[in-house]
């Protein structure tokens, strides 16, 4: 629905609720069942070696265990032992040996063994689906996994191509692709040498807190609890995630008591639900960032003063307190809050006079025209319009092109946009995921065609930041590494052609009897097993 539709539906619902008071008869979901309304039409597969979408990650986190994982009760503690009860790192920093925990069982009843771990990680590399880069960046290939990922007794050894920071490797293993599958079950369902990929798209073979009962695309996902889960049987014996596209419908279902949680309420419905009896709003910081980027091919935008000026032409507070209210918070660094190395310094604010002075110092001519690309998402378009207004105040005309992903991303990836207004979410819960794209660009030539790197897309030679990013990713001392990212971001804020503006806040509305909810923060996905009612 477009914004007008959303506005009218929200207004209609609000008006009607105001004049009609509470529902006549209140329904309630069973005490041992969690029913969630969410948009799950982004799920394309449930195979952990292939799944790379938000809703898919939510499902996968609750089905598959990993060697190491995040504890929902304490995400800030970072990765914790899960299938691996301990690990050791070789002196040269290239080999990590994991000792597998005894007594774990897959949903099939098969024991979780080192051979299953070896199979799962090798399989993810060999299948080489979209998220495979999270593992292959350590030098694993289909040809060498026989030597680099090896099980021996109750241990598994992984050997990387160079000595990366252990935290980097282990953070990556907490991603969905690190999910350990039941080798016997998966291979029993192999077809045409696909290592069970087709079967695992719609079935599960894990050892986590839940097993998959069904996934009906665009309809629902149903999970059944695993009574043998190593942390104890989850209180919610069944979890049903229903696809409900419309925010107003989610709100009605919640207020009527037919669901326990609504994950996609728009700001108007959040405001309305906040006042509803028996409903609470749960806020959680997520990893998604909103940013502006300025092409360094442009003769004016490449001037340091102009890059600075642009950061003073963003009305951070105005946007945060109006159309982004409750959904985004000001954040001007490329590492989302709660990530290792994240900093909370936001030095920029709207300052037209300062921007004017910087532009004058740079000798920017009167009547400068820039072209900006923005994808057809309402909040991004509104950010573009706000920025356009600010630029107009300093005599710069911003021509905003709104288009589909193909139109805008195509131009962006081809380095053809002066200004890009967009969003970025981390691929895995390690600082390198964002540092490696915002601040890393080893070859800035057109021929390098490094379309995956944001720095390259904006033709920005990051100078010393590329080396510093490369150094941080191999630094083994956690505190030193944290400081390195802090330093990189300080320099990035001042010199980069990026104006990082906001970090996403997820607002989930839920019945007030639902307890111990953790949506995964910026680092992981939702955990159903601690939830009680």
């Amino acid at each position: 629905m477009n914004s007008l539709t959303r506005f009218m539906s929200g207004a209609a619902l609000g008006l009607a609720l105001a004049v009609t008071s509470v529902p006549a008869a209140f329904a309630e979901t069973p005490a041992n069942m969690l029913v969630i309304a969410n948009r799950i039409d982004d799920i394309t597969t449930l195979d952990p070696a292939e799944s790379f979408e938000f809703a898919g990650s939510d499902v996968s986190r609750n089905i598959y265990q990993k060697l190491v994982n995040f504890d929902p009760a304490n995400l800030d503690a970072g990765y914790q032992p899960e299938i691996a009860e301990s690990w050791t790192v070789s002196d040269d920093g290239t080999t990590i040996t994991f000792t597998i925990r005894d007594g774990l069982k897959f949903h099939s009843g098969n024991p979780v063994t080192a051979a299953d771990v070896e199979f799962s990680l090798r399989r993810a590399v060999v299948l080489n689906k979209t998220p495979a880069f999270i593992l292959t960046q350590f030098g694993f290939t289909a040809d060498n996994v026989g030597d680099t990922i090896v099980a021996d007794g109750n241990t598994v050894t992984i050997k990387t191509d160079k000595p990366y920071a252990t935290s980097f490797v282990l953070n990556c293993l907490t991603s969905t692709i690190g999910g350990i599958v039941d080798m016997k079950t998966v291979m029993a369902n192999e077809a045409d040498g696909d290592m069970g990929n087709t079967w695992l798209k719609t079935n599960s073979a894990g050892s986590g807190a839940y097993k998959l009962v069904s996934w009906k695309p665009n309809e629902s996902v149903t999970l059944q609890s695993n009574p043998d889960f190593y942390l104890g049987a989850p209180a919610m014996e069944r979890v049903i995630v229903r696809h409900v596209q419309e925010s107003a419908s989610q709100r009605l279902l919640l207020e009527r008591g037919d669901i326990d949680m609504a994950r996609n309420l728009n700001p108007e419905d959040v405001a309305g639900a906040r006042d509803a009896e028996g409903v609470v709003i749960h806020d959680e910081l997520r990893g998604r960032l909103m940013y502006l980027a300025f092409s360094q091919k442009h003769p004016e935008l490449s001037k340091p003063q102009v890059r600075q000026a642009m950061k003073y032409l963003v009305d951070y507070e105005g946007m945060q307190n109006s159309f982004l209210n409750g959904q985004y918070t000001i954040h001007q660094n490329f590492l989302p809050r709660t990530f290792l190395g994240a900093v909370d310094e936001n030095p920029f604010s709207l300052n037209i006079e300062k921007a004017k002075a910087l532009l004058a110092e740079a000798g920017v001519p009167e009547g400068l025209e820039l072209t900006a690309g923005v994808r057809e998402a309402q909040e991004r378009i509104e950010i573009a319009q706000t920025f356009q207004n600010a630029l107009a105040q300093v005599g710069i005309k911003l021509n905003v092109t709104v288009g589909t992903a193909k139109q805008i991303l195509g131009e962006y990836r081809s380095r053809n946009l002066d200004v890009y207004i967009g969003a970025w979410g981390p691929d895995y819960p390690d600082p390198h995921t964002n540092a490696g794209t915002f601040a890393y660009n080893p070859d800035n030539s057109d021929e390098a065609n490094a379309t995956g790197l944001l720095a390259w897309r904006n033709s920005w030679d990051t100078g010393g930041l590329t080396d510093k990013t490369a150094a941080a990713v191999v630094e083994n001392d956690r505190d030193v590494r944290q400081q390195m990212y802090s330093d990189i971001q300080a320099e990035f804020r001042e010199t980069s052609p990026f104006a990082v503006m906001f970090q996403k806040i997820e607002q989930a509305a839920m019945r007030d009897n639902v307890q111990n909810v953790n949506l995964g923060g910026a680092t992981t996905a939702v955990s159903y097993w601690p939830i009680t009612k």
Partner: protein, 352 residues
């Protein structure tokens, strides 16, 4: 065989030839229509500014990954070659795999279409049952308060945004009064109880004798079906009124009245009988529109039908799914046209 025998034989066979010719012409026109539909949809799908490759590989994929998938999808081949490959698959009943969920499109359509069919059938039923009598009564009482009410009912149906009516309906009948089920086809307690035979839950639950499931499914479908039925009603009642007014002003109606026939006989046995053919067209069109899937209704009521399926596929650049859905919708239109033609022959002797 004598000459007279030959002539008799020819006369006996004569009726067969036009029938075969008619059938062949119909089949030919279906084939040409389908080919045209496929071609236009295919071309639009290819020139639209959506990128199926990006949808698969993601925003941050390297150029080499992008190129590999581009080639894998056959997008490097000339458009006409791509079209003939696709046509060959469709002729064999293969709509291909969904680019996004890697499931056969035919399976997806078999899952979502019954949901739409169930909703549309009930909707058009409501539209006929209420719309036709309303139109007739309005025409018979032209200018009266009944006519004015019918006009307002139709006007509201035409002009009120469906998402607004849908939300208001949900709020009042589900949220406040609790008379009907909420968004979705069933409450969670009734999911997966009835084995899927037709995909239409009302029918499946009735066949299985699961009347509690039937009642629950009915409580969920009644509101969206009534909403769609209201829109059908608006269209059908206005058209019925218009057709009836034309007939009621015809001379044969005056003659019938002069002959002393009762008003009921004049209206229903004479005037109404003569608008049946036109009404069939109106109802068929109305039904076809509902079978296309009402995207907004499906979104508001979380109804997993073909309208939202095609829309989601389009927004996700899943062109196999879009094409498959479009072919099915095209087939529906063609089938309903054929059905209309057949019914013309039943109700209008001249067309024989």
């Amino acid at each position: 065989m004598s000459a007279s025998d030959t002539n008799q034989e020819r006369r006996r066979r004569a009726p067969l030839f036009p029938w075969i010719k008619g059938t062949l012409l119909t089949l030919g026109s279906i084939a040409v229509t389908m080919l045209g539909l496929l071609f236009v949809t295919f071309v639009i799908g290819r020139v639209m500014p959506i990128d199926p490759v990006l949808a698969i590989v993601g925003e941050r994929a390297s150029q080499s990954t992008y190129d590999a998938v581009y080639e894998q999808l056959g997008l490097d081949k000339p458009l006409i070659v791509q079209f003939f490959y696709y046509l060959w698959d469709v002729v064999r009943g293969d709509f291909g795999m969904s680019l996004l969920n890697a499931r056969p499109v035919s399976e997806d359509i078999a899952r979502v279409f019954p949901a739409t069919m169930e909703l549309a059938t009930l909707g058009v039923f409501v539209g006929i049952v209420l719309g036709v009598p309303l139109g007739v009564v309005a025409a018979v009482n032209r200018g009266s308060w009944i006519d004015q009410i019918a006009r307002v009912v139709a006007l509201v149906g035409y002009s009120m945004p469906i998402f607004w009516l849908g939300l208001m309906g949900l709020l009042v009948f589900y949220g406040v009064l609790g008379w009907v089920g909420g968004p979705g086809r069933l409450d969670i307690f009734y999911q997966d109880i009835v084995p899927t035979r037709t995909g239409m839950i009302l029918l499946d639950s009735a066949l299985a004798g699961e009347w509690s499931v039937f009642r629950n499914a009915f409580s969920h479908i009644v509101l969206p079906a009534s909403l769609l039925g209201y829109y059908s009603l608006a269209y059908i009642s206005r058209m019925t009124r218009s057709f009836m007014l034309e007939q009621l002003s015809a001379e044969y109606v005056t003659t019938a009245r002069v002959k002393g026939l009762s008003e009921r006989a004049v209206i229903w046995r004479h005037a109404f009988k003569n608008i049946r053919v036109q009404l069939i067209t109106v109802i068929a069109l109305s039904y076809a529109n509902l079978l296309e899937g009402s995207v907004l209704t499906e979104i508001i009521f979380s109804w997993p039908g073909i309208g939202s399926y095609i829309t989601t596929a389009l927004l996700s650049a899943d062109m196999n799914a879009v094409l498959g859905g479009t072919v099915v919708v095209g087939l529906i239109f063609i089938c309903l046209n054929i059905l209309s033609d057949l019914l013309y022959r039943v109700f209008d002797p001249r067309s024989k």
